[in-house]
Amino acid sequence: MSIADSKTQKYDRQLRLWHAHGQAALERSKVCLLNGSGVGTEIVKNLILPGIGSLVVVDSAIVSDSDLGENFFVTPAHVGQPRAKAVSDLLLELNGDVHGDYLQEDPEAMIERSPEFFKQFTLVIATQISGKSLRRLADICWEQDVALIIVQAHGLVGYARIQVREHTIVESHPEQIVDLRFDSPFPALAAFADSFDLDAMDSLAHSHMPYIILLLKALNTWKQSHNAALPSNRDEREEFKQLVRTQERKEPGVENLNFEEALASAYRAWTPTTIPSSIQSILDDTRAAENLTPDTPDFWIIARAVRDFVANEGHGLLPLPGTVPDMHSDTESYVNLQTIYRTKARQDAAAVAARVTELVALAGRAERPIALDEIDRFCKNAAFVKVLRYRSFAEESDPRTAEAKTIGNALASDPRDNAAWYVALRAGEECKEHLGRWPGEPDSTSGHEVDVESDAAVLRDAIATYLAARGLPTDAVSNDHVVEFVRAAGANLHVTAALLGGVVSQEAIKLLTRQYVPIDNTVVFDGVRSVASVYRL
């Protein structure tokens, strides 16, 4: 409870989102940026500021005048000098807590020659890389189990794609965690509800009875006359509410806020406490069930412990989170309720922790125990943990395994859907491989004017080929999109770089802190309509 130190003060506004353990995870991360492009520097700027562990920039470009209009991390004095050094100097100056380095190397050559280089990183961010090199990089990261985010800016359109084999999340930060066990009160809770006699109370105490007690009592009465069953249809539910209302006292000048809350929360009383199917499938997952090894991640060991807890001490239910939402109440009743739920939650967590200790020994890593905090967090969030298994970029790129229907359906339902930009980008990259430039882009070597019409025809053909290979109608992308794409001609706009910089850094933070839920797996942003769309490709 001391006055915060300067680091805590500096990070105060983000610690309120991901707390000290999220910050520690961020500070352990090692990030690699391929190409110090405008979009690349905007992304890592937003990662250096909150304090990632370290950054390495790989770039062989020399700073030119065109960088000055796109990239905030170069100055006119840097023109003619290596961009890797220029941007890493100006980026690292943002936060003294972040270590950094640069490699003045061609990223494509690194991908080709030194695949093992990428193994050291937590996250690789690839900008301005396409075609064969990109596919190779994605394969390398997939094999080495390194998270990869692919980013592409094109005019007012932005694209990003995450590839991770498996991403587990304990704290997905749902809006609220409420698990009050009305249908199956544990003994301490049932006894507490029984200890009150609503009829014998004075009006002050009666008007301050927390709604949890009101509902528990009403449900108890209900069950006695309904063979212990919960109200299960509309009529019964209305009847149950009526039962709650019969306890209300209509006295002039007395506001029955607690009864209003009870009626508003009555659905919680008749909703059976169950294990959500998404959680059941995590508990049933082979990674939780299979033989544990010293390399089994903490998440799966705890998941296994929770599975065993459910089958034994938990009597079919998840560990109790133990939080009580605020409600109209006198202090004592509320604090007592809090204590009762919290005590049960601690007992559940202790039971899970005991199982974790056994499993850790079984896994052959007794010398590396799992911290109790981590187990507590899992138990508290047990109904909201998540496992994301991404599709690889290779699966997406191969027409035989591509999720073509996702794109086809999106375009069929709305021709202006952002899927049109996705297809244009993919086909545009194909054109770029042949033409050596984006369709519509002036030829930097010859300096000739571009023939916009013929470039549009080239792109239109590439799009048709791309769609046909995936069994989609060849005219699924509108001519307007083709023409506008050629107009943009690979333009790097700082506003798009900055926007993607924000979007991608949010996703990176979610991956690195293992909190909140990153996209699975592609986001396309249209800066004309200001709309983002997410696809699983």
């Binding site: 006055i3 030119s64 796109e70 605020d326 409600m327 307007d480 790097n492 949010q506």
Partner: protein, 423 residues
């Protein structure tokens, strides 16, 4: 000395959009030199040099705007450094507007940024009318209402130059929003005031008698105990000694009631109503605002219509939709707002309603009719003279359907209200 920069190369990306038209260009877009010159010469205003303001200055400078003004009344605090990337530890205590302007001008030669360290209310219509576009990165509802009403009030339909588009952004944690306001053509900030969630407040009886949460104990310390103990000292949420005092008081109360969870961080959060903030979300929202500024300045693409919400907590989700203009908007509407009240409710009841209604939300309204003052907050003599009206039933003061003019410190303009008796 900096070498000369090839501007055709430097603005390559931007010019690609300005040298050719396309199917998504806005009506009236004319590619060519004229639109480039316009972009490079118009004056734009950035209101706020905080999380959004720092991003906006960078984004606008690197889009080719060269005459940018920025206004901000704050100085730099250590908790700004995790996102307000134009500031360093050595700048603590200095004016944000000045440090931000200097930084961007040094980094982006050719861009002139004129800072003003002070309040938006220090400036008048003459000041605001020099700008072509006004972009707001503010952190309070009050400041937004003031800017909105001021700019909308400047519009004269006989003079198109007086139409000043406002672009407004805001963030909270992983969420943010941006919007465009074209005065009198689209919904204004006041039209959608009821979308704003009111800051969390706790009932006084809970704070005083039945605390349940650590927040209730902190509110007790700051709202009741502080003024009782230090009647002449204003509570300063940035003064660690003040926060420490509150923390000690709140902790003692929490112990007394067996409440857990009072911490330094929570105490400061409650007292200052702190909203979590990160660089990423500021980048998204500011870039969206700057993109719209680029489109409005050049017409190179159609504008966003007209509100975007970005939510990044669970995946990525945007909701972009057209906010509707309200005919009876007190700021931009053509007709007076109507209020229905029983004829024997008092003038005080009416004032309470004006303060509580989500779409009006006044702070300390003064009311008058065509024939005289009903209740005036100031000057004191007038307040004392009109105070007896507060307890009078409305039927003694007004006709059914009568119009009153309301002024308030929350709004720089007056609003007309038609009072109808509901019985």
């Amino acid at each position: 000395m900096a070498p000369s920069i090839n501007s055709q190369q430097r603005w390559r990306g931007v010019y690609r959009y300005l040298e050719r038209t396309g199917p998504f260009a806005n009506e009236g877009f004319e590619p060519g030199e004229k639109v480039k010159d316009f972009l490079h010469t118009i004056k734009v205003l950035v209101v706020g040099a905080g999380g959004l303001g720092c991003e906006l200055l960078k984004d606008l400078a690197l889009t080719g705007f060269t005459d940018i003004h920025v206004i901000d009344m704050d100085t730099i605090d250590i908790s700004n450094l995790n996102r307000q990337f134009l500031f360093r530890a050595a700048d603590l205590g200095k004016p944000k507007a000045e440090v931000a302007a200097d930084f961007v001008m040094k980094r982006v030669p050719g861009c002139k940024i004129t800072p003003y360290f002070g309040k938006i209310q220090d400036k008048d219509e003459e000041y605001y009318s020099q700008f072509t576009i006004i972009i707001c990165g503010l952190d309070s509802v009050e400041a937004r209402r003031w800017m909105n009403a001021t700019v909308i009030n400047m519009y004269d339909e006989d003079d198109p130059e007086t139409l000043k588009p406002i672009i407004d952004g805001g963030t909270e944690g992983f969420k943010g929003q941006s919007r465009i306001i074209l005065p009198h053509f689209t919904a204004c900030y006041e039209c959608s005031l009821d979308m704003q969630t009111k800051p969390t407040t706790y009932p006084m009886c809970t704070i005083a008698n039945t605390p349940r949460l650590p927040e209730h104990c902190i509110e007790w310390a700051s709202v009741l105990e502080w003024p009782r103990t230090f009647p002449d000292k204003k509570l300063d949420g940035d003064d660690p000694e003040h926060i420490k005092w509150l923390l000690d008081q709140a902790s003692a109360r929490a112990r007394q009631y067996d409440i857990t969870g009072v911490t330094y961080s929570l105490t400061q959060g409650v007292v200052k109503n702190i909203i979590p903030a990160i660089a990423s979300t500021n980048a998204i929202v500011a870039a969206s605002c700057a993109t719209e500024a680029f489109k409005i300045a050049t017409n190179c693409a159609t504008y966003m219509s007209n509100y975007m919400m970005y939510v990044g907590e669970q995946g990525v989700y945007t909701y972009t939709f057209e906010l509707q203009k309200k005919d009876d908007c007190p700021v931009c509407g053509a007709v007076a707002i109507k209020i229905d009240v029983p004829a024997n409710s008092t003038l005080q009841d009416l004032i309470d309603l004006l303060m509580e209604r989500k779409d009006i939300r006044l702070k300390a309204p003064s009311l008058r009719t065509g024939s005289g003052s009903l209740y005036m907050q100031a000057p004191r003599a007038l307040r004392d003279a009109t105070a007896p009206n507060l307890v009078k039933p409305l039927r003694e003061l007004l006709e059914d359907g009568g119009e009153i003019t309301v002024t308030d410190q929350a709004l720089p303009i007056s609003m007309n209200v038609t009072v109808r008796f509901s019985d």
